[in-house]
């Protein structure tokens, strides 16, 4: 498993260990908190302890009197800094002005009120505690359905109905579908608020260069360039005088796909004090102040024929937005609507979203972002329908899948599914798990009074976000490929990875395309002063869009390489392969390094050709990609304790072509375990006053190594026609496929008790109560 492989070997498709790992396993990588600068100060933020309150007064004097405290700033000081931006637009969207520090009112626990700047982080914390803020607490509301009820406390007094927007989408003839149905099943299904919990919390270091009027800002972000554009606006800086650097990023999962108040605040502080400033989010802050995910209450209705054919789907979606819109907050539930039909051929769809303000931290993109919720909804509903019609949950799925001959397939929600063979992964998963035998075991278990469950979920997702017209900020991606004078290859990608392994996968692709060794390629990312404008890494897009941009840049370079090769070989018939230009007539060849040297030395140039070997490509994808798959989970429920044992987990994913199966496996494992977290353990719980009562790792149940079953993975491969690499994306697949499979499994286990649906997380307490209510029958 060496990283050095001879250049004649194809690297794409191989299990190659990662090239970013040596710095990470030796503790020598640089994350934001590892940055030290002479004269650096430390910031600590004073935050609201109330879900809703008026600020009556702030006394900063006791803090300023402490030795080592350089400054304290409150909302009055930062009033002119631009609001925290909402990048999504919807008709009639109400957008509250989101100051970076609270003015006269706080809207959620953790709302920033003041910032202390001191010479060391201990003093900064001492001083933050010394600040006296007098609040007048107000009634709060944190449950989105309660917030919609008349007489509920108004989160923003100017909008007493707490409604930020409503959104309607319809396709086909829903009323006719329901009128002609043999059966209609209905269910309320929630997708609870989740806390993304990247292991590295957010952090910012900002350094103001007074003489140059330039700011350098290091931030743990997924989107360095977008952050620069938006932060420059907030701070009133010229964009080209703001450099954003993302050093090593310790996980994101969507929580760092944002522009946060603290990023602007640290820029502001650095400019005020003229010294470098560092702020590292505490875990407590990460729980209360970084975006959370999900937060759905969904009311589903599915109409079907007696044979199981799905005719129509209705959805009323209540989205808990929190107190403000962060970058994409209101757009996330619209992604759920797009994926409503899942993998099924159903052309009659109606969805109504209500976006609701609550006294809680905003929701936004978290791994899957709208798609896990949609998949959970449709996959639960299909199981409920199967139970209603007493048909096998696998059979009803086969019956309704979009046929493999139907691609490209236009959905009722306006998408065009690129390619697929939806039955293939389900067939494979059923085969791996031994479905028929398992059902026989289940019958046996039931006869012994045991609760054994088999849960199936199939899923589709929208990935490779995405065509620019369908995204809030441009959906293309960029790459610059440079062949240096020595023949070494430098790739600069606008996608800014944070654990996905693009330094390896992109190098595999580039090395194959250019016929060089993988160690001859270096992949650079995450510094706006070095890398051309890019969009970032999210939505399972980095390889499918960023990798494709790199591919096209290399194709341009190859043309140029051939021109230089032809000149050096004095031939008009040359080809480029295996890292050399070859004269097709004589067989004489000239290696890439020699061509590169000649191109920079430029003693002689081919006609109409510039010196150097550099190409930049901004690639606009013509469509999204649509990965899919099938997950099967076998569970057993302990009737005395309500505990769930995960006996088998089988994941068969189709993410198109696999660049590096080892890394794909890693993505699937990680995704599945985050899905298990949602299904079984995790839940952000706010009480009625707005307190986050799962505000620490002690109270918020993150999956641990000992809770996790062995995950059996497999693949089917249906290449995407959307990009030249044939890849679809895999970062979110595991999460999307997982939670409905688990819940379907446990509901299946408890179905002898008449259980039809259980909302997540499936805590032992919830399960035990269900078993008790079932009176111990079955």
């Amino acid at each position: 498993m060496a990283t050095t492989i001879t250049k004649t070997e194809t690297l794409v498709g191989k299990r190659i260990r990662r090239r970013e790992d040596p710095r990470l396993i030796t503790g020598t990588a640089t994350y934001v908190d590892d940055i030290q600068m002479p004269g650096m100060h430390h910031a600590c933020i004073v935050r609201s302890p109330h879900g809703a309150a008026k600020i009556k007064s702030i006394n900063i004097k006791p803090a300023l009197e402490l030795p080592g405290v350089a400054a304290v700033f409150t909302g009055k000081d930062t009033e002119k800094v631009g609001p925290v931006p909402c990048g999504a637009s919807l008709p009639g969207l109400r957008v509250p002005h989101h100051h970076i520090l609270a003015m006269d009112r706080v809207y959620f626990v953790g709302h920033p009120v003041a910032v202390v700047v001191a010479t060391d982080r201990y003093i900064a914390r001492d001083a933050a505690e010394a600040i006296e803020v007098e609040y007048q607490p107000l009634p709060a509301v944190t449950d989105p359905e309660k917030a919609l009820a008349s007489g509920a406390p108004a989160v923003h007094p100017e909008w007493p109905d707490n409604t930020a927007f409503t959104y309607h989408q319809e396709g086909g003839d829903v009323d006719k579908a329901f009128a002609g149905a043999d059966v209609v099943v209905k269910q309320r299904i929630t997708s609870q608020r989740l806390i993304p919990t990247a292991m590295e919390t957010r952090g910012v270091v900002a350094e103001w260069h007074t003489g140059d009027r330039a700011l350098t800002l290091y931030s743990s972000t997924q989107i360095p360039h977008l952050l620069r554009t938006l932060l420059a606006q907030m701070l009133g800086l010229e964009e080209n005088r703001l450099r954003v650097v993302t050093p090593e990023v310790g996980g994101g999962f969507g929580s760092k796909l944002n522009v946060y108040a603290e990023e602007a605040l640290m820029g502001f502080v650095a400019m005020k004090i003229g010294k470098p400033i560092k702020w590292i989010e505490s875990r407590r802050e990460n729980f209360t102040c970084t975006i959370q995910g999900r937060g759905h209450v969904d009311y589903y209705e599915v109409a079907a024929k007696r044979d199981g054919t799905i005719l129509g789907i209705k959805l009323k979606l209540i989205q808990d937005l929190g107190a403000y819109h962060q970058l994409l907050t209101p757009a996330i539930p619209t992604l759920s609507v797009l994926m409503m039909p899942g993998l099924y051929n159903c052309q009659n769809i109606r969805a109504d979203i209500v976006g609701v303000f609550t006294n809680a931290v905003p929701t936004d993109a978290y791994r899957g972002a709208g798609r896990p919720e949609a998949t959970h909804g449709i996959e639960r509903m299909v199981d409920i329908l199967a139970a209603e019609l007493k048909v096998d949950p696998a059979d009803i799925r086969f019956k309704n899948f979009v046929s493999k001959d139907a691609f490209p397939y236009a959905t009722a929600t306006g998408l065009t599914y690129d390619s697929g063979n939806y039955a293939a992964p389900l067939e494979k998963a059923l085969d791996i798990v031994g479905y028929k035998k398992l059902r026989a075991e289940q019958r046996q278990a039931r006869s012994e009074g045991r609760f054994l469950g088999i849960g199936i979920s199939t899923y589709g997702e929208i990935c490779a976000l995405g065509p620019s017209p369908a995204t809030p900020a441009g959906g293309w991606e960029s790459a610059t490929v440079k062949i240096e004078p020595s023949g070494k290859v430098t790739v600069m990608t606008g996608a800014s990875p944070h654990g996905q392994g693009e330094e390896t996968t992109f190098a595999q692709i580039a090395a194959d395309e250019l016929g060089v060794g993988i160690d001859d390629v270096l992949v650079v990312h995450g510094d706006t002063a070095v890398v051309q404008y890019g969009i970032g890494t999210f939505g399972s897009r980095a390889t499918a869009v960023g990798g494709a941009a790199m591919y096209y840049a290399i194709q341009e370079l190859k043309e140029k390489i051939k021109k230089y090769g032809a000149m050096l070989l004095e031939s008009d018939d040359v080809s480029f392969s295996n890292g050399a230009c070859v004269d097709n007539k004589t067989g004489k060849s000239v290696p890439l390094a020699q061509i590169a040297a000649a191109s920079y030395r430029a003693m002689k140039l081919p006609p109409n050709t510039e010196p150097g070997l550099v190409a930049t490509y901004f690639w606009e994808p013509p469509n999204f990609t649509f990965p899919f798959g099938a997950h099967i989970v076998v569970t057993e429920v302990d009737r005395d304790t309500g505990a769930i044992t995960l006996k088998r987990y089988v994941a068969v994913d189709d993410c198109g072509k696999l660049i590096n199966p080892l890394l794909v496996e890693g993505q699937v494992h990680g995704g599945v375990v985050q899905g298990l977290g949602q299904a079984l353990w995790e839940q952000a719980v706010y009480d009625d006053t707005g307190q986050l009562i799962t505000g620490e790792l002690m109270d918020y149940a993150l999956p641990k190594a000992s809770n996790i079953p062995w995950i059996e993975t497999s693949h089917t491969v249906t290449p995407s026609p959307v990009n030249p690499l044939g890849v679809k994306g895999v970062g979110e697949a595991g999460t999307i496929g997982c939670s409905p499979a688990v819940v379907n499994s446990v509901v299946d286990a408890l179905s002898p008790l008449g259980v039809r649906h259980i909302d997540m997380p499936l805590t032992p307490e919830k399960i035990w109560n269900l078993v008790q209510a079932g009176g111990g029958k079955a």
């Binding site: 990662r18 396993i25 030796t26 875990r283 494992h669 190594a705």
Partner: protein, 154 residues
């Protein structure tokens, strides 16, 4: 209000004057310049700050620097000798046992301790041993593989 401490870190003796309230993790990172161990919770729940003190894996966010006076500390930076990776580091690399890498230094120190205590651990024993270290990226399976393979080679 400061105190002198003398300790051995990664085989080298050093002395410093520190505030009694300074946490060992902050001492290692900010005074000794060893930023390999990370801070991800400050409440001993996540394990990112795990180092060895006198041969025992501990969470350095819940120990004061002054408590390490006279003791022997090993951090992730002290594992590779003469440019050669420790077998556990090598195993994490081979098995793709890390993604963002933030939990990795602590995870490797814990993994080493698991194998030191039990040279031939079962999957269940490995998972139990890793319980105090959180990883949000990998789903733990490749970490389990890494510990197994390092144990098999030891």
């Amino acid at each position: 209000m400061t105190q002198n401490i003398t300790l051995t870190i990664n085989g080298k003796k050093r002395s410093d004057t520190v505030e009694p309230r300074l946490l060992l993790i902050h001492y290692l990172r900010e005074v000794a310049g060893l930023t390999g161990p990370h801070i991800a919770c400050e409440t001993s729940l996540c394990g990112a700050c795990t180092v060895h003190v006198d041969g025992k894996a501990i969470k350095s966010c819940t120990m004061f620097a002054v408590q390490a006076d006279g003791r022997d500390v090993l951090t992730i930076e002290g594992l590779a000798a003469d440019g050669k990776l420790d077998p556990m580091q090598e195993a994490f690399w081979n098995e793709h046992a890390l993604q963002c890498g933030f939990c990795t230094p602590g995870m490797i120190m814990t993994a080493k301790q698991i194998v030191q205590r039990n040279p031939n651990p079962t999957e269940e024993e490995i998972r139990h041993g890793l319980e105090g270290n959180l990883c949000r990226c990998t789903g733990y399976q490749h970490i389990v593989n890494a510990v197994k393979s390092a144990a098999a080679k030891a």
